[in-house]
């Protein structure tokens, strides 16, 4: 099968050329713009003080925004409303101590776990925004070594 080396080459090349792309251009919009984050209070992962959002996932959201030079806009609401908003791409990210077993897989896309205890902890993004999903997962992986420490700090 002579096509395989070409295929592998194409894949490597593609990664260099900014593939995958978003279906609706989330990364392009967020970069240097506004990151719209849905927030569900769920300590120690998300601690919503009303004026600021802290906790592990608050820190992670900050890191993502910083990576793209974006300003964060928080939106509060019940879980199902926020997930619905992800589906219609009115939000870019939902943080709320979600674990990989939540029944929202059809409405939202879940990231790979950034931390695993008895649950696999994930964030949620709009489905089909794959460049965005890749971006978020890359930032999460960079912060993976710090998560244990962050949880301990947030729990105090």
């Amino acid at each position: 099968m002579t096509i395989i080396p070409y295929l592998v080459g194409a894949c490597l090349l593609a990664t260099g050329c900014g593939l995958p792309k978003d279906a609706s251009g989330t990364v392009e919009r967020v970069r240097g713009g506004v990151l719209r984050v849905g927030v569900i209070h769920n300590p120690p992962f998300v601690i919503d003080t009303g004026t600021a959002v802290r906790g592990v996932e608050g820190t992670l959201a900050d890191a993502i925004a910083q990576d793209l030079g974006a300003r964060i806009e928080f939106r509060r609401g019940p879980e199902h409303v926020l997930m619905r908003a992800l589906h219609t791409r009115e939000l870019d990210l939902v943080i709320g101590g979600l674990d990989a077993k939540v029944p929202w897989v059809k409405e939202a896309a879940l990231t790979r776990p950034y931390y695993t205890d008895e649950k696999a902890h994930v964030l949620a993004v709009p489905p089909g925004e794959n460049a965005w999903l890749v971006k978020v997962e890359r930032v999460l992986r960079q912060h993976e070594p710090r998560v244990g420490q962050l949880i301990a700090e947030s729990a105090q």
Partner: protein
């Protein structure tokens, strides 16, 4: 004569059958390895899920073939006095049922996703410490699966022709045609990579149509088997001239005035009835028995032929349609 004969393959053909058996095992292992690789990468992609099911389904024909090859040469029994040679038809039936069921299910699944605008989220995986988009690993797994199908399809086809084996030929074609499924899946994932979300469910729909097409071809084969179809040229919808050749061979006996032949496929073999109008009646039973034995040499697939002496024949060939 023995009314319950056991078919024995000549050494050369038995050797080819052994090759067919080994190739079936090779397909099973290769396709299973591809299925395993795909299972690890499947994620949230509909096209990947469909290609995976399609890959697993292509395990059904070789397994059915292996079972049929074990069963078909059993000697006839009280319950099955005509023997077990048609076991292969049952494997066709099973394959057709499984394929049409899954094909339809996957098509509905893909169509609903397209209709509802469900977009495939495909994130990253970490391989050897590098974090890459899962789409690339899916494409790699698909490329592997594609090569496996292509390879086993290519290997099986010549053996199928030597054995005049319809089941093996259909299986080889199905393996070979898998490149269309995997190719469509790769294309779908590339579309997703470029931000066209419908590429995923769209290519899944194409693959499920491909599965249904396989199912339809198998169903046609099952129907033909149930209808006792005359021997057919492999790979083509064309009747063989074997009945005519047998009839000519019978008529070459100088004690035969007139003859009529009807043959049908009997699993891998061919069986049927030969009606003869004898010119002389001395020693008729022995003559009839000898003809039955000698005619089996016209084609190696002929097996368990019945020769029936009659007083007159109204018709010596069946009607041509149209």
């Amino acid at each position: 004569m023995n009314p319950f004969p056991v078919y024995v393959f000549q050494p050369e053909l038995a050797h080819e059958r052994e090759r067919a058996r080994r190739l079936s095992w090779l397909s099973i292992w290769l396709l299973m390895s591809a299925a395993l690789l795909m299972a690890f990468t499947v994620g949230n992609s509909q096209t990947m899920k469909t290609a995976w099911v399609s890959d697993v389904l292509s395990l059904v024909p070789p397994i059915a073939l292996l079972i049929a090859m074990r069963v078909e040469l059993h000697p006839p029994t009280e319950r099955f006095p005509y023997g077990y040679t048609r076991a292969i038809s049952i494997s066709f039936l099973v394959t057709a049922a499984v394929l049409s069921l899954f094909g339809l299910m996957l098509f509905i699944d893909a169509a609903l996703k397209l209709f509802r605008g469900e977009r495939p989220p495909i994130g990253t995986v970490v391989i050897f410490g590098r974090q890459i988009w899962a789409g690339w690993t899916m494409i790699a797994a698909l490329a592997y699966s594609l090569s496996c199908g292509f390879l086993v399809g290519r290997l099986k086809l010549p053996v199928a022709h030597k054995l005049q084996d319809r089941a093996l030929a259909a299986d080889a074609k199905m393996n070979h045609d898998e490149w269309m499924s995997e190719g469509a899946a790769i294309l779908g994932l590339l579309l997703v990579a470029f931000g066209y979300w419908w590429g995923d469910a769209g290519s899944a729909a194409i693959i499920s149509l491909n599965i249904m097409r396989d199912a339809w071809e198998t169903i046609q084969q099952v129907i033909a088997d149930l209808m006792d179809e005359a021997p057919n040229v492999l790979d083509r919808h064309q009747l063989e001239d074997l009945p005519q050749r047998v009839r000519e061979a019978v008529k070459r006996y100088d004690w035969v005035a007139e003859a009529a032949v009807r043959l049908r496929e009997h699993g891998h073999l061919i069986t049927g009835d030969i009606f003869v109008v004898p010119r002389e009646h001395t020693d008729l039973p022995a003559r009839v028995e000898r003809v039955a034995q000698e005619l089996a040499t016209v084609d190696w697939r002929l097996h368990s032929l019945t020769v029936m002496p009659v007083a007159t024949l109204d018709q010596t060939t069946p009607a041509h349609p149209g």
